[in-house]
Amino acid sequence: MTLRHKNLVAIGGGIAALALVLSGCGGPTTNDATGDPSTGPSGSTDTLTPIMGGTVTVGWNEPLKSMNYMSANGHATANYVILYMMRSNWAYYDADLNFVRNTEFGEMIVESEDPLTIRQTINPAAKWSDGTPLDGADLLLEWAARSGVFNDADTGDIEKDDDGVVVGVAEGKVYFDAGDPAVALIKDTPTISADGKAVTFVYSKPFPDWQFNFVDYPLPAHVIGKRALGISDPIEAQAAVAKAIQENDKDALAKIAYEWSFGFDLKSMPTGEDVELVVSCGPMVMSDYVEGQYVTLKKNPEYTWGEEAKVDEIIVRYNEDAMGQVQALENGEVDIILQQVTADVLAAVQAIEGMESRSGYEGTYEHVDLTYDNGGPFDPATYGGDAEKAKKVRQAFLKTIPRQKIVDTIIKPTQPDAEPRNSYNLVPGSPTYAATSAANGYAAYADVDIEGAKALLAEAGVTSPQVRFLYGKSNSRRAQEYQLIYESATQAGFEMIDAGSDEWGLKLGGGTYDASLFGWQSTSTAVFEPAANFVTGGQNNYGGFSNARVDELYGELETETDPARQEAINLEVEQILLDDGFGITIFQFPSVLAWNAQRVTNVSMTPIAGTMFWNFWQWQVLG
């Protein structure tokens, strides 16, 4: 061994010895976890019982982007579901689509039928999470915004910055970025009671769906007053907003309108003073929002005017990928997910141990509509104005649509108990669906009737009518539906022409097709809302359908407030539509709700509005 080697060995030995000595003395004691006390993974699963408190984590696909659901930009379900937990409401939809009133918070009373006068009251104990009491000014502002009564700015008056974002409106011009024809029916400024806890709305004409207006508590007027008018005292700010509306103070309203329209858009938790943008008057308050990642809601300790949440914290995590959500559920990162069903997603959910899943409906439904006014096979003009002849061709075509087969082949693999939707206007499972679907004539269309269709065509004396069929070409589900319709209709003698296109949305109403297949989305159970699909010249009446009796019925419904009569009118409308061969509905889009049965209980869903969040106050953690 050379000298150098000895040196090396000595140094190495020295280091080793030093290391051994030093390893005896530790570094600083560390406790890296703060906040919640740490606990290991709990092993036992046999004694799970619902407990109070705890955290539920929910998976959702699209991030929150505005605290104002009613503005043009904020009008998205992703915003609604978060606001649903941060607002008091006068009513909500339960799992069976009953419209349940929350009288603990307040009442909506019909004071008079003519003119239709609605008085909405607010529980006097109710207040915002910053301590400011709820006040009629909030409702007054909401009316001012959505009615459009004060809007006097046209496009030229709206100033945009370099990025095209609206930064202001010409001096004294008012622009609320919203529009709602239902609210616009209230033309007179609503009156606020002396104590500020009741607001009276007077409709300019009777309106059947009044109960769906102003159901969720709106934006905080005091925050808008503070931000738009620079008044620091919240009560004074509230009063100033009410005064500006009552006195039609254009200068103040211009600022208020801007704040209302654009001030509440956000993509992460506001800081400093801006935290007032997320004040809550509901069961939960927002404590954190990390852009694109998650929103954290904590239980509002002050909330006593309605159902109180049983959990302490609800975290909504965002992830767009359906399979990603299923795997996050399996990995314990989320406890509840709601997904559009595909065979993959369903198989994956069912394969996970310890999960429960339930199939349900979304608000969207598939339907075929026929065109009356394009010179095609369903247009009376084609037969020299022979309306009866055209009607027989329409009926024959509808008879060939294989509704049950479409449901069996396309929907049942993902939703075994699926059934065709048998009503134009009612969501399956809603209170009046069963009675209406039994009586509206859909029973005659339960099965494909090729012979009947042939007979009708023969009666009409029409041979092999050509039908241009429009659908979303790249949508594989719709392409499959078209294939089934094609096979069936061809048998009856129709000559089907594939008019499928990815531009179907733009082609609607253009008259370039004779039949169309797409989905409508129901956003409420309001009875008058579907009128736009069926009345002559209606906004969504793409097929040029026109029927005097239907127009008359909707004319009556427009001012009818008795629910029994409303139901009867709707039934008659549906009977006429089917008899006239307007079109036919096929199925409701299926969805699947899945949750970790080892972690949470009392989970359910409703097709519209609150979706799986509708009963968040009933969610309980198992421990």
Partner: protein, 511 residues
Amino acid sequence: MLAFIARRIAIGVVVLLGATFIVFMMVAIAANPLAELRASNDPNKEFLIARTTDLLDLDMPPVLRYFKWLGNLAAYLWGHGTFGTSIVDNQAVSAQLVVAVPTTLKLVFGSVILAILLGVTVGIVTALRQYSSFDYMTTFFTFLFYSLPAFWVAVLLKQFGAIRFNDFLADPKIPPWVVALVSVIVGGVAAMIAGGRARTRVGIGGVATAATAAVMIYVSATGFLLRPGLGIVGVTLTGVGVAFALTALNTGLGNRRALLASLSTVAAGAALYIPIQYAFLYASWPVLLGLWATSAGVGIVAGMAWGGDDKRVSGRTAALTGVVMSVFVFADRLMQAWPAYVGHSRVRGRPIGTIGAVTPELEGTFWLGVTDTLTHLILPTTALVLITFASYTRYTRASMLEVMNADYIRTARAKGLNERTVVVRHAFRNALIPLATVIPIDIALVFGGAIITERIFAWRGMGTMFIVALREGDIYGVMGYFVITAALAIAANIVADLIYAGLDPRIRVNA
């Protein structure tokens, strides 16, 4: 030189204009921002349609809209340009980019570094062992990974890397058959790489098998995965190993001064281990970067102190040792935080995440936060590395083979240089030149191409921005994404050309 750069930039601008025009037209024709609204029953649908039409100028022909958009963008040249407003969230596209770009950088950065390190290493080894079973095996696997679809890799990684691994952590006992299998595979690979005579290879394979088995049994028996840690002993021993390995590669173990300088650095690191633990209480990224730089500095000082003819080589080797050792000290500190992290009530014993960049509402020290970031980065990074590193191995292998057959390598061998010097000094450096031109372009591609990975792992970066914008027919969002990625790709090409010219004296750019 300047003329060359100017010409390339001018061409780049023309390419960018042409590309943006084509993409703008394609999006304008293909995507329909009104489609969803048309099929909506919303009572205020007409208002919403009018608003979107106004915002996107849908009443103008696409060509005019392109020039309007371009004009707004070009206005950046005099300071008040705009990318337009997104109809997805009513925000300026520039505001979306400000968030999306850093997110993607965070996601892509680690994977690019890892893919390059891994790809170059494997490429060199396969070149040196050309036509060996290791070479064939590597070729097979790299092409396999290269051809796998990203979404499928991601789903598998989540299933096995996160869900199953987290299940396994509840009771981290490695079954004997797994120990046996993995050890034999590692030993086999080691034997394949080793080269030389059969006896040597069997010996090396045997040692590798035994060592792997020992480590796995230790990990399994001591519950290392739940309470990991190197401690001062582990850090020091690893440091000594690193010192020997780096010296062997850099200068050869015959260079005693370099070895001693590296070992001195390790000794200094060991002596400072406990003080550093206190410094770690106040850890933040600047502090850590400072410590890192200090450890490199210690190495350089040690190299100078041991003196000799090639102080600089000693200093470089010792500095590298210091840097690597400080990484181990850092890893050791993270390991100390691991039990607290795994047991945290927000993590509930399932540390590896499948979605998002963070665990919501996790409260804790800097170290807990870093651990949390890493547990969320590990899967997407692995996915990106698997998909991208194949190309690096192929490039490196090809270029290394070409260099090894060059005349100057034969000359180097002929003048009696040892194999290490030939490979590391003469071959390796020259083999890297072609790679230097590939890497910038590759980075640009990964930056714009992590769309699927981002989406599946719920990272809201450039890819998500693009997908969401395209789906909603938000043409300005798509163009915002495209301008950034296209400009990056064009810039990367120019940079690659310049790097090549800088590295290879045979290339002149002013020709």
